[in-house]
Symmetry: C2
Subunit: 247 residues, 2 copies
DNA sequence: TCAAAAGTGTTTCCCCTACACCCATGG
DNA sequence: CCATGGGTGTAGGGGAAACACTTTTGA
């Protein structure tokens, strides 16, 4: 798929003529599936829930469910997070719509996928997780997932890795106040590679989106770290240089 | 929306408990809408078709239609292009899924949008355009569109402008053999700004994705231009430098 | 005083930008 | 021979990358 790739034609046979009334039939089950990211123990993790019914009973899947008639698709994604995971405040962004015929053995289900991000500490607090059994898995050690959910996670991760490079999404994984080292760790964990400390700090501070709160936090028996906060209320794009056209 | 923006919570009221069988009801009409781009007369244009039925009879809309039960969503988009526009070979990429409740006055319709690109010359040849009346509009001079189709076009254009900077999508608007000036014009027309000729040519040739065919084409009474072709079969990503991590 | 993480500058190099003139052809 | 677009090179500047030591604290 590769970041929104081209659709290539498979054998497109001729089909019956289109129906006269466009909304009268051919209705479809539409589901939402959410890839919820967090950072815990210096690892990027994804939340999975265990299926309690056939098919794939007992297998891990992404939290999600069907879109109801009285809610928008976005609302469905938020509701599923609330219901199944007990989370209200997350960053949520639509990912891709998977519309193949054979995605679900029960029949045709179109899935609109999302990815979401929470700060682990914030999640810990308000997670009753009543009914479903849920579990965080490191993105590089996922269990066997049902349906095509492995693909969805892969795609979400790719999108996330792209986006941290030119937007401030990574901040969604951190608490309101954080140290520069924590921010750097977040980037390293998402990207799966080390980052130079001095260059990282310089770049981040140059962006002008961090406010030094003046507070400090002593973590162990070493020098205390300054606490910063993110100045923007929304996720922003960094100044980006195009290859063809200078920004 | 801004290139896949965050979904913010509106009032999420509590709702009835979820159904036991997930695919049994709450089925939805799902449509595809395609933003088809081309370049003609040094302008970026979008194909619109005229509605022949209520609501919005006589208004311009994107080519599209409902997804049938026996086809994937991608196939539906391709079929609509074939049926309504008579085009078989296009670059097609999924854009975004619009899932709000009030998009369509007839009732709830979830729309999976796509954008597509054709070379104008190639289109000219095999365009019977039998039934529907279709017309190309410059992207900056669109008529009043029905539904939320104006938004979809805006979003498609934004995506296209982003993508030409780090992928080879722009080539999809050109014939198989083209001059560097034609390629530059394509970029200028998409981006809506001028580009330096020498820098552009150097960058493009440096990418190593152009093959000098050795042929030339005399356009008028001036020096003939070399014809190039694109070496890759797929749309590729350019070498991209991240802000945080060197590529 | 030691361990452990926080914090800080500089140099080098490459790539991007800006910019103007000759070339080949048809009329 | 002239008008028109095709084609080419370079110098300067800015930002990215590489790199190591001092500071602050708690134990």
């Amino acid at each position: 798929m590769d970041n929104g790739a081209a659709i290539t034609r498979r054998g497109l046979t001729t089909r019956p003529p289109p129906s006269a009334s466009p909304v009268s039939f051919d209705r479809h089950a539409v589901a939402v599936d959410v890839v919820l990211f967090t950072i815990q123990d210096d690892a990027l993790k994804v939340l999975m829930v265990k299926r309690t019914a056939a098919p794939f009973r007992g297998r891990w899947v992404l939290p999600g469910g069907v879109v109801r008639s009285d809610e928008s698709v976005d609302e469905a994604a938020l509701r599923e997070l609330q219901d199944k995971v007990g989370i209200a405040t997350v960053y949520l962004e639509q990912l891709y719509t998977f519309g193949d015929l054979d995605r679900d053995p029960r029949g045709r289900v179109i899935s609109v996928s999302y990815y979401a991000m929470v700060d682990w500490g914030h999640f810990q607090l308000k997670a009753p997780r009543k009914l479903v059994s849920a579990r965080w898995f490191p993105v590089n050690r996922l269990p066997n997932l049902a349906f095509d959910h492995r693909n969805i996670v892969t795609y979400a991760l790719e999108r996330l890795r792209n986006k941290v490079n030119y937007t401030s999404v990574a901040f969604q994984l951190l608490p309101q106040r954080f140290t520069l080292t924590e921010l750097q760790r977040a980037y390293e964990v998402i990207l799966g590679q080390r980052v130079d400390k001095r260059n990282f700090r310089r770049k981040m501070l140059q962006l002008g989106i961090l406010r030094n709160t003046g507070e400090q936090r002593a973590e162990g028996r070493q020098r205390p770290a300054r606490l910063y906060s993110f100045t923007e209320t929304r996720v922003i794009k960094f100044q980006e240089k195009g290859i063809i056209v200078p920004f």
